[in-house]
């Protein structure tokens, strides 16, 4: 047969196959190296091992629990041994699309970590002495539940606090607290992202950006988003796609991050000057008429701005545009150059690039400058101003609000929010705080602003992560301030040493959660599950308690909270138990299968149908594929007309805000939204009138994008009500001649805060954190060379670290990653031996000294690799030397430090840390003076604007300020 005949024969074979309704070619090409086992073979996938043998796997999806990106993982469960052999990406996950960073596959290290906590432990001896005994779950649960029950019975609900680091889930635990009726939710967010969030919140009512990177023409990052941060892997892969199409990347970062190395424009400004640069770009857009006038006219709350700030001027859009030009005329490129050190010419070029994006501008700031500086929240305000000017908002290639790209399915029961106000988390000095004032807990407890009888830390390590860690140690070791401390954690940490109970919780492959994050213009729901449970169930076993499949007695939190709730209220007398009672079998506990089964059946549109098409239940579908895409291409929701049915007895209020008497429809998506106030007659806000049409608008008081925040103006901050540049606490004028700014917030791309020390692969790649120092500064400081010890003095103490002389940092600025410097006190029996130095802790009054006694070293364990540890240096814990810097508006801890750097003194040793907590108290008091308390500013006698987001939202009457401080 010749070659042409062969071609005919193949074509005929194809025709016949297609005629039978089957496929001939196996779908999209799988040539590239990241191809995945086809999903129809996930029950039994045979892979060739390095030794040439074959091994049969069940492939079970779950969700990574290392950073907050929640990328899909696929566990390779050996069908013979029923152990996980490796984790790869889950190609069915719409966010991560099968790709992972190093931290995903390293979950395997965490599972097999020889130092992990396998059993519930109870303290023996004094707090922090380091001695533990194994207890049963029953003993621990009964003890904890008894104390909580007493607190509830004695009307001390706020004595119970749950403090979360990495949430990794959407609302389960908040609902537990709501069911208990305690305002005890505390987060880590004010040391993380609340600066950025606040800026977004005051613009659009929603507190996170969702940039459509893949479709953007220009991407502007005030972050290191190609290597770390929220949601770096899902976002990075879309940024890369955009760049392949020719999109331009602008990166603002004082440090040459991996991200900056990929930029078309890398801007390395003086820290704190970012908003000045962004406003100069905005000013250029306005000056040159490049903004989208129609978008501004339709969607900004310019009328409100004119009415409040310029009532005597003509109330016309033309007048507003004139004022807008005036308002930003001072932000010239030359002005921005003076502040930022970035040349006016470069800024002009960048501004032109931004202008060229038109509506395809994707921008992002999360922590970075927003988390570093006093007034950092204005960086997010200024950044979003660019989108708002160009109309690059909620359109293809622009930036969306998070809630439109997020789907939180309604659970079977939604308990009402607590009728309490917790002054420890929402103190009245910070009425506009974006999140709980979590890092001030030691100060507030010492000041008697509240009491804590049962304190849960959950994947949260404030002693190490927060500023002023020694004050945390002082607080957590004082049982008159914290009655019972329960640490819920998969692995040892500096805070767990100070607990009364250490309760082992599962890793990403050992627990149930659902979550959904804004990663592109779509909505998806991801499912985390104990993969060995799912694998055994596929093989026909029935597993009713996740402890049956997890290592040791490691549990998972859903079952833990349900069980604890039942023990708090065993007979239902407190009215709590019912929230977690089976609907199918009244009188019994709700199981996770029932809980998630109900959600997937009733609250995820399209999932039951997709499952049925494959002959699966909705829960079975999620156990098999791990994620479901609810919607793609959500588009501009603000432009959607409000349906007639929702306009019952509608009334149009100030500046076109539309109110209705129609009740809010029960949507399946319960993504957190703010609650703009009803009108005087009690109608709820439903939309906004734009050019005669009633459109959905934005969840802000005005229903529009709030260029002008009346909330800020009315609550004491009129000078900051529009996007302006606020000078940072590390502005050069504040530093003087002998101090430099220390940037401490950046991550090492393969590590994740305190959570990855139990991953040997990651530790081998990155285990130390030298101080980035520019050669000019190294010279000025006496010829410091890479590896030399330097002393870094903060306001409250110092740390001794090795220098890394590099041109990758702006002169006059130093940088040190916060990801390293883990430690365990001498005598502590638990601890991570591959990433924690052993230290001595000495205290004299308020003066503390931490000295490194030993670095890490090889050791024998169940994992032969621990005998091969070749590194001893695990970095220096700089955060201990930082005082608290609460931003008076957003409540964000402003991380940047003004420091003096000099050569270490004789007698200084690597890793030395010295701090005076009395000095840190003074710094706290100085920053407290910047606040404008609700007591002085509240326009309506409440503690906080009711419309703002709050994880637990008490009823409105609870917002009223008490006559005297409680």
């Amino acid at each position: 047969m010749n070659i042409r005949q062969l071609n005919e024969r193949v074509a005929a074979a194809k025709r016949e196959t297609l005629a039978r309704g089957e496929t001939f070619y196996p779908g999209p090409s799988r040539v590239h190296l990241a191809s995945f086992p086809p999903k129809e073979r996930w029950d039994e996938w045979v892979a060739v091992e390095p030794d040439g043998g074959e091994r049969s796997y069940a492939l079970v999806p779950t969700t990574c629990f290392n950073c907050e990106s929640a990328c899909g993982l696929l566990a390779y469960v050996d069908r013979e041994t029923l152990q996980v052999r490796k984790f790869e990406g889950n190609p069915e996950h719409p966010g991560s699309r099968g790709r992972n960073c190093a931290k995903g596959p390293a979950t395997l290290n965490q599972v097999t970590d020889p130092d992990r906590i396998l059993y519930p432990l109870r303290r023996v001896g004094g707090r922090g002495e380091g001695r533990w005994e194994r207890v049963s779950w029953d003993e621990a649960l009964d003890d904890i539940a008894g104390r909580i029950r007493r607190a509830l019975e004695e009307k001390r609900p706020n004595d119970v606090m749950y403090h979360v680091g990495r949430p990794g889930e959407d609302g389960f635990t908040e609902r537990v607290l709501a069911a208990w009726g305690v305002d005890g939710h505390n987060s880590h967010t004010n040391i993380c992202s609340s600066g950025g969030r606040a800026g977004y919140h005051w613009w659009m009512g929603l507190d996170r950006p969702s940039p459509d990177h893949a479709n953007a023409d220009v991407i502007l990052l005030v972050s290191a988003h190609l290597e770390s941060g929220h949601y770096f892997n899902p976002h990075a892969q879309r940024i890369v796609e955009a760049r392949e199409r020719g999109a331009k990347l602008i990166v603002v970062d004082t440090r040459l991050s991996n991200t900056a190395t990929h930029a078309d424009h890398w801007l390395a400004p003086v820290p704190g000057s970012e908003a000045a640069m962004l406003l100069a770009i905005a000013s250029h857009l306005i000056r040159t008429g490049r903004h989208d006038r129609e978008f501004v006219r339709r969607w900004w709350n310019w009328q409100e701005y004119l009415a409040c700030e310029h009532p005597d001027r003509p109330q016309t859009f033309e007048e507003f545009e004139r004022l807008l030009g005036e308002l930003y005329s001072e932000y010239t490129f030359e002005y921005a150059e003076r502040e930022s050190g970035v040349s006016a010419e470069v800024l002009r070029e960048v501004a032109e690039t931004v202008a060229g994006a038109r509506t395809r501008l994707a921008t992002h700031v999360w922590r970075s400058a927003s988390a570093g500086n006093l007034g950092g929240w204005q960086v997010a305000r200024a950044l979003f101003l660019l989108n708002a000017l160009l109309g690059a908002v909620a359109v293809e290639g622009g930036t969306y609000p998070n809630a439109w790209n997020k789907f939180v399915p309604r659970p079977p029961v939604l308990p009402g929010h607590p009728e309490q106000w917790n002054e420890l988390t929402w103190p009245e000095e910070y009425p506009l705080a974006m999140n709980e004032m979590s890092f001030l807990l030691p100060q507030l407890l010492k000041d008697g602003r509240g009491t804590i009888d049962v304190y849960f830390t959950r994947v949260y390590n404030p002693v190490w992560t927060n500023p002023d860690g020694f004050s945390w140690i002082e607080t957590l070791t004082d049982s008159s301030l914290v009655g019972l401390h329960v640490a819920l954690t998969p692995t040892w940490n500096e805070t767990a040493y100070l607990a009364d109970y250490v309760l082992p919780m599962g890793l990403g492959s050992e627990r149930h959660d659902i979550h959904s994050y804004e990663q592109y213009d779509g909505q998806w729901v991801g499912f985390r599950q104990p993969v060995l449970r799912a694998a055994r169930e596929r093989l026909g076993e029935i597993v009713s308690d996740t402890r049956e499949v997890n290592p040791g007695e490691v549990w998972e939190e859903n079952e833990f909270w349900i069980d604890l709730t039942w023990r708090i209220d065993p007979d239902g007398a407190l009215g709590i138990r019912g929230f977690f009672e089976s609907r199918e079998r009244p009188g019994e506990k709700m199981t996770v299968d029932e809980y998630y089964g109900w959600i997937f059946e009733h609250s995820v549109p399209g999932l039951p149908e997709a499952a049925a098409a494959e002959g699966l239940t909705p829960l079975g579908y999620m156990r098999r594929y791990g994620a479901f895409e609810v919607a793609k291409g959500v588009g501009p929701l603000h432009e959607r007309p409000v349906p007639e049915a929702e306009l019952e007895d509608a009334a149009v209020g100030e500046h076109g805000r539309v109110y209705t008497r129609a009740p809010k429809p029960d949507a399946p998506n319960v993504v957190p939204l703010p609650t703009p106030e009803p009108d005087e007659e009690g109608r709820r806000p439903v939309g906004v009138e734009v050019d005669g049409e009633i459109l959905r608008g934005w969840p802000t008081p005005s229903g529009r994008l709030e260029f002008y925040s009346r909330t800020l103006a009315e609550w004491g901050w009129p000078e900051a009500a529009v996007p302006v540049y606020l000078r940072s606490h590390v502005h050069p004028d504040e530093l003087g001649a002998d101090r430099m700014t220390l940037i401490s917030t950046f991550r090492l791309p393969v590590q994740i805060h305190t959570r990855s020390a139990n991953a040997k692969w990651l530790d081998e790649i990155a285990h130390t954190n030298p101080l980035w120092l520019h050669p000019q500064d190294a010279e000025r400081l006496g010829g410091i060379r890479t590896g030399d010890l330097v002393r870094v003095e903060t306001e409250i103490g110092y740390f001794v670290v090795k220098a890394w002389v590099t041109e990758g940092i702006r002169p006059g600025v130093v940088a040190c990653s916060h990801h390293m410097g883990r430690w365990k006190p001498e005598g502590q029996t638990g601890g991570q031996r591959q990433a924690m130095a052993t230290v001595s802790l000495e205290r004299e009054g308020s003066e503390w000294l931490l000295r490194r006694k030993a670095g890490v070293a090889p050791f024998e364990s169940s994992d032969p690799d621990t005998g091969r540890i070749w590194w001893s240096d695990v970095g220096v814990h700089q955060n201990l030397t930082f005082p608290v810097h609460p931003d008076p508006v957003s409540g964000m801890h402003c991380w940047h430090q003004a420091v003096r750097v000099r050569r270490a003194e004789p007698g200084d040793a690597y890793g030395d840390i010295s701090v005076d907590t009395a000095a840190s108290r003074e710094v706290y008091e100085r920053w407290l003076e910047r606040t404008r308390s609700a007591r002085d500013t509240s326009p309506d006698g409440t503690r906080r604007p009711y419309w703002l987001l709050r994880p637990l939202k008490p009823p409105k009457d609870v917002y009223r300020l008490p006559a005297v401080r409680e």
Binding site: N7, K14, V31, E244
Partner: protein, 275 residues
């Protein structure tokens, strides 16, 4: 011919049950096995143009960018691996089906396929088990038929015109020379893992378990003159087998250079012995 070329492209992807119908239509002997596939295309002969045309003999780089540029020039978004044989054959089939201008197909065929398939398919024919050996034979034949149909290009392919040559060891140092020996476009031959195993066996030298570069380094360290002579013979054989002038000339030049280097190495050893 488009269906045949597309099918042949799909068959150099990792085996799937779906492939059986295609293999049956082509009457390929035996069946595709995961382990054989992995041995052939993941460990020995990488089915990517950039490996054979790139100045470093590695995946990606300028050689891949050039292929990606071709996709873009056609107004198409290049796939993740535009220079994979399956991608290229798929594109060729698509152009044929869409009745794209003949110049496009001619450019694709000569610039990005025939420019490297000669040494690649030759080695597949030599090293593969029957299934993929037959596949290589069919592909070679099909490409010949296409070449006759679309006609020649006025100039040699750009990747050949721009190709850097094998440099002398004294000019670039031992390590540089070693790396160039693993760069087909410079040497005119494709040296795979099993060749190095054969060299060790032929010469009675110890083998190191490592990347090719280190295996070769270890062989040269043990007996440089013998290893270089072996490589020279290897190059001569390649020159005899190649059908395309470019690859033939490259291999012949490499053979001469290697023979010369072997002589010099032997001389140096004698001098060292004498001392």
């Amino acid at each position: 011919m488009s269906e045949l070329l597309r099918t042949l492209g799909v068959l150099c992807e990792p085996p799937l049950p779906h492939h059986r119908a295609m293999a049956d239509a082509l009457a390929l002997p035996g069946e595709a096995r995961d382990d054989e596939y992995a041995e052939l295309f993941l460990f020995q002969l990488y089915p990517y143009g950039s490996v054979y045309l790139g100045p470093e003999g590695k995946l990606g780089g300028e050689a891949r960018d050039r292929v990606a540029g071709f996709w873009r020039a056609l107004g198409l978004t290049p796939p993740a691996e535009p220079d994979h044989l399956a991608s290229l054959l798929g594109l060729y089939a698509e152009l044929a089906e869409r009745e794209a201008p003949q110049e496009w197909r001619r450019a694709l065929l000569h610039e990005h396929l025939l420019s490297w398939t000669d040494p690649f398919l030759d080695r597949v024919g030599e090293l593969a088990p029957p299934y993929h050996r037959a596949w290589a034979g069919l592909l070679r034949e099909a490409l010949d038929v296409e070449a006759a149909a679309v006609g020649p290009l006025p100039l040699a392919p750009l990747a050949h015109r721009d190709a850097p040559s094998l440099e002398r060891p004294e000019e670039i140092g031992g390590v540089g020379f070693l790396e160039q020996l693993l760069t087909p476009v410079r040497t005119g031959f494709v040296l795979v893992r099993s060749d190095l195993v054969a060299a060790g066996r032929d010469l009675g030298l110890g083998l190191r378990v490592a990347e090719r570069r280190y295996v070769l380094e270890a062989l040269l360290a043990q007996d440089a003159p013998a290893t270089l002579r072996w490589l020279a013979r290897f190059a001569e054989r390649a020159a005899e087998r190649h059908r395309s002038e470019f690859w033939r000339e490259r291999a012949a030049a490499a053979a001469a250079l290697l023979a010369e280097a072997a002589g010099e190495a032997a001389q140096q050893e004698e001098v060292a012995h004498a001392r």
